[in-house]
């Protein structure tokens, strides 16, 4: 790659950064190893999108954020993610790279649930973090951005559900990038032990329409045998942020991971959401909605990789593109040899709202086993004039009719978000982005 990525952050800086946070030695070693690889590894090559000229090197790395004593101190657009009449018992708010607010119910504490920032987890739950951090899901050396992530990781959360614990109330995390120039190298590590279950919902938000920075987010989600994880996310980084968002799940025997992800970033984005169905009879639903606008370029890859027998992967991506936005949607169902009786289904649909918007849906099935079922559907099109005619024939204006059709188009994912206030907030963001 020809792109200039000489980092302003060297070995001494990283050592100091790690020491300041009292990180265990192995973590510091891992960071320095990763830093060495940054210069060696190539940039990722998302299919059909050239990212060579994107900004991945201009950013500030560290910034503190003050604690808040009351949620009313939050900006309105963040408060919207919360229902004031029904505040979550389990809420975590990260402001820049500091914990601004954190609460968890006594019940969950007593049952051994961990819901804490990644730095605290590194000291208080070192063995658990060490067991899973960049091990089973994502590897350091996949490409330059994974290595860069490990070298510069500066925020994140650790969620851990012990064996047989069912968490009914959702866990909600908000990552608020208040400083417009600071990059977020966020690491989310979610581990559900055998036969446990949880619902986790996260929101990313920033306001830097002018200032340039980056986000480099790696999320590792581990579902041990029989575990059930419902994972919701709304990403809403502002136009100045170039985003690398990687969410990856590992599902062991009889485990389920369901994703509902609202991709509302305004900047260039490389998005990857893969689930490795390692254990027999494991399954994943991977749903994502996207609204692209302006001159945004985005690349979305949603993937299910079937290793175990009788595994089920279902991918659904719906995107709306307006103005001059460009998006590539890759949906990949990969069935490995031996994954008999597995089923890989996928659907990608793109709705174009302007002549200059571009969208491309690439259905990909890679199958190395005979005894399987697989299906795909992909379409790129405009709002159906017959649908508009029908709605308008009842007196609904064209603008309102289009709004209804677009909401309907995005509903299969929006309706799956597990927290009502987050669902409503996503609807508002969609409203703002589309009109």
């Amino acid at each position: 790659m020809t792109v200039e990525t000489k980092l302003p952050y060297d070995k001494d800086y990283i050592t100091q950064f790690s020491s300041d946070r009292n990180e265990p030695e192995w973590m510091q070693v891992l960071r320095l190893q990763a830093l060495e690889q940054v210069d060696v590894l190539e940039m990722p090559k998302p299919d059909k999108t050239k990212i060579g000229k994107w900004n991945f090197s201009r950013f500030k790395h560290a910034a503190k954020g003050d604690e808040i004593t009351s949620l009313t101190e939050l900006p309105a657009e963040i408060q919207d993610f919360l229902d004031p009449d029904n505040l979550p018992e389990n809420l975590f708010i990260q402001r820049n790279q500091s914990v601004a607010y954190a609460t968890m119910s006594e019940k969950l504490k007593q049952r051994g649930v961990i819901f804490t920032d990644i730095f605290t987890a590194l000291t208080e739950h070192e063995d658990l973090v060490k067991r899973y951090y960049m091990k089973d899901a994502v590897s350091i050396d996949e490409h330059r951005l994974t290595a860069l992530h490990v070298a510069l990781m500066n925020g994140g959360i650790f969620v851990y559900i012990p064996k047989n614990v069912q968490v009914e109330e959702p866990l909600q995390a908000i990552f608020w990038q208040e400083d417009p120039e600071v990059a977020l190298f966020n690491h989310v590590l979610v581990v559900a032990e055998e036969n446990s279950s949880l619902t986790y919902v996260e929101n990313y938000i920033s306001h830097n329409d002018e200032e340039e920075t980056i986000s480099n987010v790696i999320t590792e989600v581990i579902a041990q045998n029989g575990a059930k994880i419902s994972f919701g996310g709304v990403d809403n980084f502002a136009a100045g942020t170039t985003n690398y968002m990687n969410r990856r799940g590992i599902a062991y025997r009889d485990a389920t991971i369901d994703w509902a992800l609202g991709q509302m970033n305004d900047g260039h984005t490389v998005f990857e959401n893969a689930t490795h169905l390692v254990g027999d009879n494991s399954s994943a639903e991977s749903k994502a909605v996207v609204v692209g606008r302006g001159k945004q370029i985005e690349n979305f890859t949603t993937k299910s990789v079937h290793f175990g027998k009788d595994t089920h992967g279902h991918i659904l991506q719906h995107g709306v593109m307006k103005e001059k936005a460009t998006s590539i949607f890759n949906a990949i169902g990969k069935i490995e040899h031996g994954a008999t009786r597995s089923n890989a289904e996928q659907e990608s649909r793109v709705l174009m709202l302007s002549e200059k918007a571009r969208g491309d849906a690439n259905p990909i099935l890679l199958i190395d086993e005979d005894d399987v079922t697989a299906g795909h559907a992909a379409s790129v099109g405009r709002v159906d004039p017959m649908q508009l005619y029908y709605l308008m024939s009842r007196g609904i204006t064209q603008t309102e009719a289009e709004r209804l059709v677009i909401h309907g188009f995005l509903a299969p994912v929006v309706s799956k978000l597990p927290i009502a206030s987050v669902r409503e907030q996503l609807t508002k963001i969609i409203e703002r982005k589309v009109y």
């Binding site: 649908q387 005619y389 029908y390 308008m392 024939s393 009842r394 609904i396 209804l404 309907g408 188009f409």
Partner: protein, 279 residues
């Protein structure tokens, strides 16, 4: 302040002294689709209080008439006029036609994924009201529920996506549900009876008859007489070759039921009644 409501009050007063509701006046209407001429001069006037039936074999232009009046994007009007109470309907957008008081019960209603029937109904009702004067939610639910009951529709339908996965009968009942909730001045019902079993036909007819009063005009398009056993038309028109070729009272429909269309063709010297021929 609220023009629409004042207008309705005004009409009620007029109704009280013997004047009917709206008038839809179609004159010499010529319509083509993708260059093919379908309607070749239709004249028809429907007044409040009147029920008209347009009958005829398949392919004679009946549905084109309905779609053209509503403003279907594929149909092009090449000649003639349509006026509603003197207002030029053909100059209006589709949604304006609806708000002016027209309604089309469609033969093939669109399916709209992700939009619940209930949300759609509420948007449709609110589209007719001024901003800030939206129908209160509870009032809407009450009206919708009682209408669902009246039409013997499962209440779950309100929460299903609009027409998505509906059976043919459910779609038709849904059209009548909209008709009853939107209360138009003039309704056009395009093959509202097709694909209905006898029980559904009775329910649909009950719904249409409910609106029957001097302020409501209706144009029923059908090629079966059986719907007219339940809804007695005041006027019956027969369409062939893209024109109305014969008009009469309810007895005309009965004769068509008994004898078919051949006698009309013989009487008028028509060999092929469809629009493809004899322009």
């Amino acid at each position: 302040m609220n023009v629409v409501i004042h207008l309705k009050k005004y009409k009620l007063v007029l109704g009280g002294i013997g004047m009917a509701g709206s008038t839809l006046e179609i004159k010499n209407l010529h319509v083509q689709i993708e260059g093919k001429k379908i309607l070749k001069g239709v004249d028809l006037t429907i007044k409040g209080g009147e029920f008209h039936a347009v009958m005829g074999p398949n392919g004679t232009g009946k549905s084109t008439l309905a779609s053209a009046i509503m403003g279907h994007p594929k149909y092009e009007i090449t000649e003639g006029s349509v006026h509603l109470d003197g207002e030029d309907v053909l100059e209006m957008e589709v949604d304006e036609r609806a708000r002016a008081g027209l309604f089309l019960g469609m033969q093939y209603p669109s399916e709209i994924s992700g939009v619940t029937t209930s949300d759609f109904l509420r948007s449709s009702i609110n589209a007719r009201r001024e901003e800030g004067d939206e129908i209160p939610l509870m009032k809407f639910i009450k009206e919708m529920d009682s209408t669902l009951d009246y039409l013997e529709i499962d209440k779950n339908m309100a929460q299903r996506y609009l027409n998505e996965g509906f059976s043919g009968g459910e779609k038709k009942r849904n059209e009548i549900l909209q008709l009853l909730l939107l209360k138009p001045e003039i309704a056009i019902l395009d093959e509202i009876d097709s694909g209905l079993d006898i029980d559904a036909l009775k329910v649909v007819s009950k719904g249409i008859n409910k609106l029957r009063d001097e302020n409501f005009g209706c144009l029923i398009i059908t090629h079966y007489q059986r719907l007219l056993n339940y809804i007695t038309p005041d006027h019956v028109h027969v369409m062939m070759q893209g024109r109305i070729v014969k008009s009469g009272g309810p007895e005309l429909a009965q004769r068509l039921e008994a004898e078919g269309y051949e006698w009309i063709k013989d009487e008028l010297g028509i060999e092929d009644e469809t629009v493809g021929q004899n322009a």
